[in-house]
Amino acid sequence: MCLAVPGKIVEKKGNKVVVDYGDHKVEAGILTGEFAVGEHVIVQGKIVVDKVPEEQVKKWNEFLNSSK
């Protein structure tokens, strides 16, 4: 199943963000869309691809932890 793990934006400077996954952080660039600190996003290949609504993040993380 290719279903991703969302990370949280913890820093934003212009089009660059830092995304926190709990055990590590990654830097990524925004090419399109509006993203803010505190929002959960999917990052691939150092670009922000999409955001995941807050209420869905918690449910999904619980599922991922239970299926580890």
Partner: protein
């Protein structure tokens, strides 16, 4: 809608162009190592084949569905026709039907997992913005296709353009 990768491309390499965006997630979810991910990335970018046994192990759910589809359609396993049938049609249907984890995942993740034709609306080195069916914009990497320009039509999977359309 015809993909631009030549028919002479090894089918394992063609499969990897579409499957590679998932490797990012299998890495994230701890199912493959960083070294395995880098091996896959190198092969996917360069259009090189990876051994079938490796692909069958790393992309087990996709391979299971390809085998089922081969039985249903009569296309040979590891044929270009089968991989196209899977990624252009069957794959999105399976996600919509909510098979396995898809039924439990946020809708936005399922949509990212689907494969769509899209049009490049602006570009920069290494990544472009594409317009998806319905008008939504998404940033995607161009590492698998090579440089893209405005107006190019591509197939996208997650945060990657997988193949140019001609």
């Amino acid at each position: 809608m015809i993909g631009a990768w030549p028919k002479s491309m090894r089918v394992e390499a063609y499969f990897l162009k579409y499957a590679f965006p998932c490797a990012f997630i299998t890495l994230q979810r701890g199912r493959i190592s960083q070294a395995e991910f880098e091996m896959l990335e190198r092969a996917a970018v360069n259009g090189e084949a990876v051994e079938r046994g490796e692909l069958e192990r790393i992309f087990a759910p996709a391979i299971r569905r390809l085998k089922k589809l081969a039985e249903e359609t009569g296309f040979e396993m590891w044929s270009r026709e089968l991989v196209e049938e899977y990624y252009f049609k069957n794959h999105n249907q399976i996600i919509d039907e909510g098979e396995g984890d898809y039924g439990k995942a946020p809708k936005v993740l399922c949509e990212l997992c689907k494969i769509f034709p899209a049009v490049v609306v602006s570009g920069s080195a290494g990544a472009v913005v594409v317009e998806l069916p319905g008008g939504k914009l998404r940033a995607v990497n161009t590492g698998l296709t090579g440089a893209l320009k405005k107006g190019d039509r591509v197939m996208v999977h997650y945060g990657y353009a997988c193949e140019k359309l001609v």
